[in-house]
């Protein structure tokens, strides 16, 4: 493995901390939306890592700035997947909210009934 340059290391650390923050948020956050966001942060971290790696592998070669095309493609695909997953999750969340409000509404009524 080649020597890691300072900026690369920085990028790597950023990616790692993104993942860590995401994981923390995923584990802690009780709200579903927060969990979805946490997942997005993790995926952002991973994609960042991929981009950095694409950079690094080409760094040793002759052409300085051309990144690894395979990883680029992978990141693109991953983004598409992540976006669609997020969209689906949000849709599901919406239905969850809807159903929980439907379910809790009669419940509240029941609780208030005796007072009235």
């Amino acid at each position: 493995m080649t020597e890691l340059s300072g900026s690369l290391l920085l990028f790597l650390l950023t990616a790692a901390s993104l993942v860590a923050i995401g994981v923390y948020g995923f584990i802690i956050g009780p709200e579903p939306l927060r969990r979805i966001l946490a997942l997005n942060i993790i995926s952002a971290g991973i994609f960042m890592l991929m981009v950095v790696l694409a950079y690094r592998t080409s760094g040793s070669g002759a052409t300085e700035l051309a990144a690894d095309p395979v990883l680029q493609a992978l990141v693109l695909t991953g983004l598409v997947v992540a976006v669609s997953a997020t969209a689906f999750a949000l849709a599901l969340l919406a239905r969850l909210e809807q159903s929980s409000s439907e379910m809790s509404a009669p419940l509240q009524l029941k609780q208030t009934e005796p007072e009235q």
Binding site: V19, L39, V81, S99
Partner: protein, 472 residues
């Protein structure tokens, strides 16, 4: 032929979106056609050996690589046939169960993603399939309405989390080796902290998705909440996808030292799953939860077999692993369909509704019992075949006492929960009256896979041969 297997479901799913009216017919047609294709592919592969195919003619390394070996073909055949059966069941009960129209395209997509998964031998490609599989599965679970949303959402979150773990592992590996296809990676593999942590990340992600103990917590709720045909598909097929990848990783990638270090953990996890899942299934008051917990337990067999395979490197154990998967898929589909049918007809989720079911719905109960027999491993069922192969593999290693006896004990647990249902069904004291006249066709459809799993034993020799060839 492989391309047809992929294109056919994709096309029919698209067509379904255009013509929702004929969606059921399209789905059934695509499943039936795929089954025939899969059978033909299996015969071809069995005769001529493994086939490779690169998408769109790109060179190897860049292109998406597909590989059809006997195991893949068997699994494809299994998924298409089950798809067809479940489709037929859903079609037969459509007027009663009010399944949303979404079921047909989604199930076809499920078939697509599974087929793709069985054929892929490329880590990233596998990731995409896995993600697609997870999303489709969650969507299917959410079909059953309000009460299913919460489990579905949990399932989704954990599934995405697991996928991300897997992806992170893939990325680490790519960073280290610059390769994605498994064969290539295996040839350059070095045991080190990087490959260790990548393997660990991927495995844990996959275990979460495959609901392997102790990461199974999401499964019972999700499977129990889904409509009966969906539960059948989920338990029979979906959890097997990540398991397949897990096996690929450990059997083809991992070095011997890594495998040896990990083997006891897998075996222990498998045993724990057997015990825990079995116990939970024995105690749960709900019918579908029982079957779902049984899935957790039965996956334990596969995990255990994987662990033992890593320890002993015995082709028979490998065969046993996949025999478990095949037998479990068929049996579990039958169980879920039968239980679903009975809950629908007798009206209720609790196990107690099955009181006297042997009189009111003898066929469905029979289907459950027959499938249960395979789960227990009574001869001459598929489950027996798998257990036999596992025991043979173990005994060939010499004086092994612990694992065979552990297996016996675990099997007793599975017998206990299966017969918990059967005994209830024979209760003549106060049988639960059906809400409406039981339908015959769905019951027969539930019985079919159960009979198929017993028929597996008749083809035991070719099956064992095929699977053993694979390992070598």
């Amino acid at each position: 032929m492989m391309i047809l297997l992929l294109v056919l479901p994709l096309l029919s799913a698209l067509l379904m979106l255009l013509w929702p009216r004929i969606a059921p017919l399209l789905a059934l047609f695509s499943a039936a056609a795929s089954s025939l294709l899969a059978l033909q592919l299996l015969l071809q592969v069995a005769e001529q050996g493994t086939r490779y195919w690169l998408l769109a003619g790109w060179p190897s390394g860049l292109a998406i690589a597909w590989q059809a070996d006997t195991l893949s073909c068997l699994l494809i055949l299994l998924s298409t046939v089950l798809q067809l059966l479940v489709g037929l069941y859903a079609f037969a009960t459509r007027s009663r169960d009010k399944l949303s129209q979404g079921f047909w395209p989604l199930s076809t997509l499920l078939q697509l993603s599974l087929t793709a998964l069985w054929l892929s031998r490329d880590l990233f490609n596998l990731y995409v399939c896995l993600e697609l599989l997870g999303l489709v599965a969650v969507a299917l679970v959410s079909l059953s309405g309000r009460k299913a949303i919460k489990p579905a959402f949990n399932y989704l979150l954990l599934s995405l989390f697991g996928s991300l773990c897997y992806l992170l592992g893939v990325v680490l590996l790519y960073g280290a080796y610059g390769l994605l296809d498994i064969a290539g990676l295996a040839s350059q593999w070095q045991a080190g902290w990087l490959s260790n942590s990548a393997l660990l990340l991927m495995s844990l992600g996959l275990m979460l998705k495959a609901a392997i103990w102790p990461l199974h917590a999401w499964l019972p709720a999700a499977h129990a909440a889904a409509p009966a045909p969906v539960s059948a598909l989920l338990s029979a097929l979906v959890v097997k996808g990540p398991l397949f990848i897990l096996c690929l990783l450990w059997l083809q990638l991992a070095s011997t030292s890594q495998a040896q270090a990990m083997a006891p953990l897998f075996a222990a996890a498998g045993l724990a799953a057997l015990l825990f899942g079995g116990w939970s299934a024995l105690r749960t008051p709900f019918a579908k939860n029982l079957v779902a917990y049984s899935t957790v337990a039965q996956l334990g067999y596969a995990t255990l077999a994987l662990g033992l395979m890593l320890t002993f490197d015995q082709p028979l154990i490998f065969a046993a692993l996949w025999l478990f998967v095949l037998a479990h898929a068929l049996a579990k589909a039958a169980c879920f369909l039968a239980i679903g049918e009975m809950s629908a007809t007798l009206g209720g989720k609790r196990l107690t509704i099955l009181k006297g079911a042997s009189q009111t719905m003898p066929l469905a109960m029979f289907a459950f019992a027959v499938a249960g027999g395979s789960l227990i491993g009574l001869p001459p069922s598929g489950g027996f075949l798998a257990k036999w192969a596992l025991l043979q593999g173990l005994w060939l290693q010499g004086e092994q006492l612990f694992w065979p006896l552990a297996l016996v004990f675990a099997t007793l647990l599975s017998a206990a929960y299966v017969f918990r249902v059967v005994v209830l069904a024979f209760d003549r004291a106060d049988p639960v009256a059906p809400d409406f006249a039981p339908q015959l066709v769905p019951q027969w459809l539930a019985l079919l896979p159960a009979l198929a799993v017993w028929a597996m034993a008749l083809f035991s020799e070719p099956l064992l041969l095929l699977l053993r060839l694979e390992a070598l």
